[in-house]
Symmetry: C2
Subunit: 320 residues, 2 copies
């Protein structure tokens, strides 16, 4: 949930006068995204999302994010699209923040995805990877292997407050991953945060992807591993091979994994688990006691990581 | 900002199947109301608000609130209207909470009201009081004079942490108000919380009133005093007599204040200030340090109260 910045009606009306989207009728702060302030805006032309980019998002990255949404949308992927103002710009300023008007996307995210949902996600992820192939901008993944040790060091000994020897567990895993992280896999635009709450469905049909604010240039198979971690484990954190197979085979129908990608998949899945373990751990240790937003449980990703440490490619249900 | 309860898409779709409002297309938690969870729901028929009543709202009061909105709406007041389900009920259950579907109201609240906005508010308040005259249900005002001492006692000596001798200031004021609080003024349905964020405008035209969850049966003039406190003071907490006169005279054109109401108005304004001073103080003292929702400043109401302590009826701009 996130509305960090309030916007006065007069100010918003003045901002929207720069767009060809009709007259402002109402706007409401919405509980979506954790990095930015989001408003659902109703005008005489329809509904839009207004996003105010808060300081956690680097202004220099905004052309990448907005350009990517436009690029993917032009290639038939259903995702929110930046609306350009009368001067042709997708980015403006409201309440002292960079701001963009984005098209409103219908659909709902699935709290407990089935194997069918996982298959739909796998197909959409492959489409995203293929559609992004000719996107000209690049963005380094700040949350890949080189970014993990600084996060680990930021937690320091306090990791052990969360679980006995969690600091040591992370340190040992980091040593392995830094030593063996694959650097030459097929790369391109990845979403890097395609959790269920960023994937909309209407009925059983996937209707769109949202929240491209972690998107970057990295290995496709790493994105697959992130999704597998987010979609294919049960409430008790056990791996559901039926869901995994559904995701992986739907993905592979459009973009088959190379031999190298298959071979290092367990390692990628370990890295993907460590990345979310670490960012959750940092958030967990830095949320003031009693805050209204409950941080996500880092230990969920400890359990996933343990599974990957002993898994082989075959265990995921990857078709031979 | 408030979304306390998450609702799964499947559960919401099943709930809405009981209503004749089309198929669920999307829903988003919105940052509106502090007592309940609110979602903006899009169906194939249009947009609606879904409110889940959290434990701070007494279930027994819901028929009063929902019935009142329906009553006022039927008498031409623009306010959200409960949508009845196929069984004819305005109240259902979602995610273990009492829940209602309410019509969506366009309009925006004014961050810095002008005298013109105050006049529009005065007129709307009088219309509300007149339209509520034949509403058959009653609800005691739990936050009138009898409710203040318990709030004061709940703060105890900690009031003095907020401002030097604030506890003594409140105690002395309570003694005065309990001794002299008028009990025989004209009564009826009052809104009791008609702050700017509960009043929508489209351009300069008042387009609707929302959030009836403090509405109760009490003195009309007390409701006027609450509004005067909320609308007619400047950022520096000084009283703006132009705004006050605009509010009061617009109100009086539809419902003239009686001689008795005019005479005790300063006392009512003191009580109205003390009520918000006390509830804000309780919230202030009970919000955990670092929480994401910033409590409202109780001292704003100390300054308003000091103004009222030395004011006479004439000082408000009430027409003789």
């Amino acid at each position: 949930m996130a509305v960090y910045t309030d916007v006065a009606a007069e100010e918003l009306a003045a901002f929207l006068a720069g767009y060809d989207i009709g007259e402002l009728l109402s706007y409401k702060g919405i509980a979506e995204g954790v990095e930015n302030s989001n408003f659902l805006v109703h005008t005489s032309r329809g509904y839009y999302i207004l996003t105010l980019y808060e300081k956690r998002v680097a202004t220099g990255d905004l052309p990448f994010f907005l350009g990517l949404m436009e690029h993917l949308s032009a290639r038939g992927l259903t995702c929110p699209q930046p609306v350009k103002n009368r001067a042709g710009a997708a980015l403006g300023m409201v309440a002292g923040r960079p701001a963009a008007v984005i098209t409103f996307l219908d659909g709902m995210w699935i709290r407990r995805p089935s194997a069918g949902h996982c298959a739909a996600l796998g197909e959409a992820l492959a489409r995203l990877h293929l559609a992004g192939a000719d996107f000209p901008l690049k963005r380094r993944n700040a949350l890949s292997v080189d970014g993990w040790r600084p996060l680990h060091e930021a937690c320091g000994a306090r990791a052990n407050e969360v679980q006995l020897d969690l600091g040591g567990f992370v340190a040992r895993e980091l040593d392995v991953l830094e030593r063996s992280w694959p650097r030459d896999l097929p790369q391109g635009v990845i979403h890097a945060d395609l959790f269920p709450d960023n994937v909309f469905f209407l009925g059983d049909k996937l209707s769109g992807l949202i929240d491209f604010y972690f998107a970057c240039t990295d290995a496709f198979a790493y994105d697959v591993a992130i999704c597998l971690n987010a979609w294919c484990f049960e409430q008790d954190h056990s791996y559901n091979v039926t869901k995994g197979r559904a995701l992986l085979s739907a993905y592979a129908r459009l973009r088959p994994l190379t031999g190298a990608e298959q071979e290092v998949f367990p390692l990628l899945a370990r890295g993907a688990a460590l990345r979310f373990l670490l960012t959750r751990l940092v958030d967990w240790l830095n949320v003031p006691p009693g805050a209204l937003v409950k941080p996500k449980d880092p230990l969920e990703y400890v359990r996933k990581l343990r599974f990957h440490q002993t898994a082989s490619t075959r265990d995921y249900g990857i078709a031979a």
